[in-house]
């Protein structure tokens, strides 16, 4: 199945892009996707362990199972205000 992945701030710099469509295995969890991404781009680990994740624009935990068409983002430390 296919998800839409968004990159922001320092993660966008590391990835060199702001978004991509990506194939993930059926039943894959948020934490599985993060592991896969950090294998490809170890630079993502510079903010430490798995950052907060959002699926379809809502914060969610590492155990959330991804679904086809999900919009997924890992969020570097936020700094609004």
């Amino acid at each position: 199945m296919r998800i839409r992945l968004l990159y922001f701030a320092t993660f966008k710099d590391v990835a060199g892009r702001d978004s991509e469509d990506r194939q993930v295995a059926g039943g894959a969890k948020v934490s599985d996707l993060w592991r896969e991404l950090t294998r490809e781009m170890p630079g993502l680990l510079k903010t430490g362990s798995m950052p907060p994740a959002a699926v379809n624009r809502e914060y969610t935990g590492p155990e959330t199972v991804l679904a086809d068409g999900d919009e997924v983002a890992f969020l570097p430390p936020v700094a609004g205000g």
Binding site: L6, F8, A9, T10, D13, T47, A54, R57, E58, Y59, A73, L75, P76, P77, V78, A79, G80, G81
Partner: protein, 140 residues
């Protein structure tokens, strides 16, 4: 509706106070010329727009439940801001001042904690970096 790439019109936010409101507490977050001991020249704000809008909406819903007499408004800039520019404006009005103060403070604290907005600081020496409030910086 909470994010804008145009200068924030604070006066318009003030104008929304109701005739029953006796206290209006405002917080303006302003781009300052220093951060963690280093000089700052300007700041670029980036947001995960749709999620940021939704998160601010949830924060306002929570404030309305906790302080039902307070009315809170929020505007947050995105894009490149210069020193002195208003990055965020919170206006909390209530019949009495205690509620206005506490709702305003809670609003800015929660916005800083969870709304997906990032800022890149540009220094006079040409370097820049993303601000990481979890890295031990004082609260802004």
């Amino acid at each position: 509706m909470y994010l804008t790439d145009a200068p924030i019109d604070s006066a318009a936010l003030f104008a929304a106070a109701r005739p029953s409101d006796g206290g209006v507490c405002t917080f303006l977050g302003v781009v300052r010329n220093h951060h963690m001991g280093r000089p700052t020249e300007r700041i670029a704000y980036e947001a995960y727009g749709p999620m940021a809008e939704a998160e601010i909406g949830k924060i306002l819903d929570g404030l309305a439940r906790e302080w039902p007499d307070a009315q809170v408004q929020v505007r947050h800039r995105v894009g490149v801001l210069e020193i002195g520019d208003v990055a965020v404006a919170i206006v909390a009005s209530a019949p009495h001042r205690a509620e206005a103060f506490v709702a305003c403070r809670a609003a800015i604290d929660r916005i800083k904690a969870t709304v997906p907005i990032w800022k890149r600081e540009f220094h006079p020496d040409g370097t820049s970096d993303w601000v990481d409030p979890t890295a031990g910086s004082p609260p802004g």
